[in-house]
């Protein structure tokens, strides 16, 4: 059968280790090593090596950069699996090439989210054991831990695996070094109509089961913050929905960036068409509109009529210590909104602008997560403590960089074993052409 390849052998660069790829992997591995070193410093010397400090008399913030990235990573994972599930549920054929990339992004992001939680614990090893031993459903933390990491992660992993079998079977026909691995992943996939029908049915029901699971999971993440009456700026009904929407925004943004990078390495228009990017751009636009609406609502409420402490926190965001992060994040949301709207209306999509928008909204998401976490701690005390301050140390930056590099490394390695883009399904196209 004819399979698209840019060079002879396996499609989409599977099994071919280019110099650029090797350099990228080396750099990523080095950053991961640095992050690991920083984490070991933190474990042996205690978390005083971070910039975190006690609230109130301690004059600091106790949840900072790590929690920012916990929420960010889990948020990114939302978009990946949602797109993959939507593609199956609504049979969006032209978006099929994206499905695996989206699933990989979800799985990797969830693993990074789990690691980010563990590095934030004062007792990491005891934490992992005690969470499995004693976790209480009454704590919103349980929902984040059990449902998100166990349920949603495993469901996404199953989804990814089952979706990879067909391509693994296709590649197992080529006598390469990876043939053994491909045969193992394919696990006897025969590409018969009956098998395809079973796969379609299984994917459909999996997608149907995953979607409510992930809405609940992301909402409990929002509840971690939104149910705390003691923290002005957190206690809000909009936290949970806001989390879900911003998760979608950052996830799609990152997917756009990933897709653009893959497109560069796999041959351009042949493997990922502009139509795919246009769809992603439109989806991002809609989610951005909703999120900017939420932002405006929260701001209006916060400045018009709010408890005294809420007003204080809001003032810090608009004109105080956090103003530069706040306005930068707003700009990084509103500018891409404008750029995407213009592209949508003129129906001319530029991949470069889309990538820039994707990067911008991700930076904004990180900023916004930071602003949700920190100001309500340094300036949100209900008793008259003095205002505090928080600045991350190099340890925190290094650990976070290590996590990001780990994600990039895993995706880069994955791409060389299984094609990151789903192989086009000629046999199905033949069937539909006949029908």
């Amino acid at each position: 059968m004819a399979v698209r390849t840019t060079t002879p052998g396996l499609p989409y660069g599977v099994g071919r280790l280019t110099t650029a790829w090797k350099a990228f992997v080396a750099i990523a591995a080095a950053v991961v090593a640095l992050g690991l070193y920083a984490f070991l410093r933190e474990v042996t010397q205690g978390m005083r090596v971070t910039g975190l400090r006690n609230l109130g008399t301690g004059g600091g913030a106790t949840w900072g950069l790590y929690i920012t990235f916990v929420v960010y990573f889990i948020g990114v994972s939302f978009a990946g699996i949602t797109i993959a599930a939507l593609i199956r549920l609504f049979d969006l054929r032209h978006l099929r090439p994206l499905a695996r990339m989206a699933e990989v992004l979800t799985v990797v992001a969830l693993v990074l989210g789990a690691f980010a939680i563990v590095v934030d614990l004062g007792q990491p090893v005891r934490g992992v054991i005690n969470l499995f031993r004693y976790a209480r459903p009454q704590s919103p933390f349980f929902g984040t831990f059990a449902l998100v990491l166990a349920g949603y992660f495993f469901a996404s992993l199953v989804y990814l695996y089952l979706g990879s079998r067909r391509d693994a079977a296709t590649m197992a026909r080529e006598p390469t070094r990876l043939q053994g691995l491909h045969r193992f992943v394919a696990a006897g996939y025969g590409d018969t109509p009956a098998e395809r029908e079973r796969h379609r049915r299984a994917s459909f029901w999996l997608a149907l089961a995953i979607l409510p699971l992930l809405v609940i999971a992301h909402s409990t993440l929002g509840f971690v913050f939104g149910l705390q009456i003691g923290r002005p700026g957190w206690y809000s009904a909009l936290q949970a929905p806001g989390f879900v929407v911003l998760a979608g925004v950052s996830g799609i943004g990152l997917l756009i960036v990933l897709a653009a990078i893959v497109r560069r390495t796999c041959g351009g228009e042949d493997c990922l068409t502009e139509r795919v990017f246009a769809w992603l751009g439109r989806f991002l636009l809609v989610l951005l509109l909703v999120y900017v609406y939420f932002l405006a609502t929260e701001l209006l409420t916060g400045t018009y009529a709010a408890g005294e402490r809420e007003v204080d926190v809001t003032r810090q965001l608009l004109t105080g210590d956090y103003a530069w992060i706040f306005w930068a994040s707003v700009a990084l949301l509103v500018l891409p909104l404008g750029v995407l709207a213009w592209q949508a209306l003129s129906r001319r999509w530029s991949i470069g602008l889309l990538v820039a928008s994707g990067v911008a909204v991700n930076l904004a998401a990180i900023g916004k997560r930071y602003l949700i976490a920190v100001p309500s701690q340094t300036h949100g005390q209900l008793l008259p403590y003095e205002a505090g301050s928080y600045a991350p140390t190099w340890i925190e930056y290094a650990v976070v960089a290590g996590l990001l590099a780990l994600g990039a490394l895993v995706i880069a390695l994955f791409m060389k074993f299984i094609p990151i883009i789903e192989l086009p399904d000629e046999s199905r196209e033949e069937v539909t052409a006949d029908a």
Binding site: G151, A155, A194
Partner: protein
């Protein structure tokens, strides 16, 4: 055979999740010493196992050979 296994795993996984969440994990209700402990230690692990079993049903459904296949 395959159908039995698939449905069985989904139901078993779901049952394990429900039972461990509502009956084995820390009970809901007033904040007391008793309600800070799970009724069975490692109940959350059982919940996670229930999730794994339920979703593995999909893998079984696709991979398991069956006499009804052509």
């Amino acid at each position: 055979m395959r159908r039995w296994w698939t449905w069985g795993m989904v139901i078993a996984g779901g049952a394990l999740m429900t039972i461990s969440y509502f009956f084995l994990a820390a009970p809901w209700g007033e904040d007391t010493v008793a309600n800070s402990d799970p009724r069975l230690e490692f109940a959350p692990l059982l919940f996670v196992i229930g999730v794994i079993v339920a979703f593995s049903a999909a893998v079984v459904y696709e991979l398991m050979p069956d006499r009804t296949d052509e």
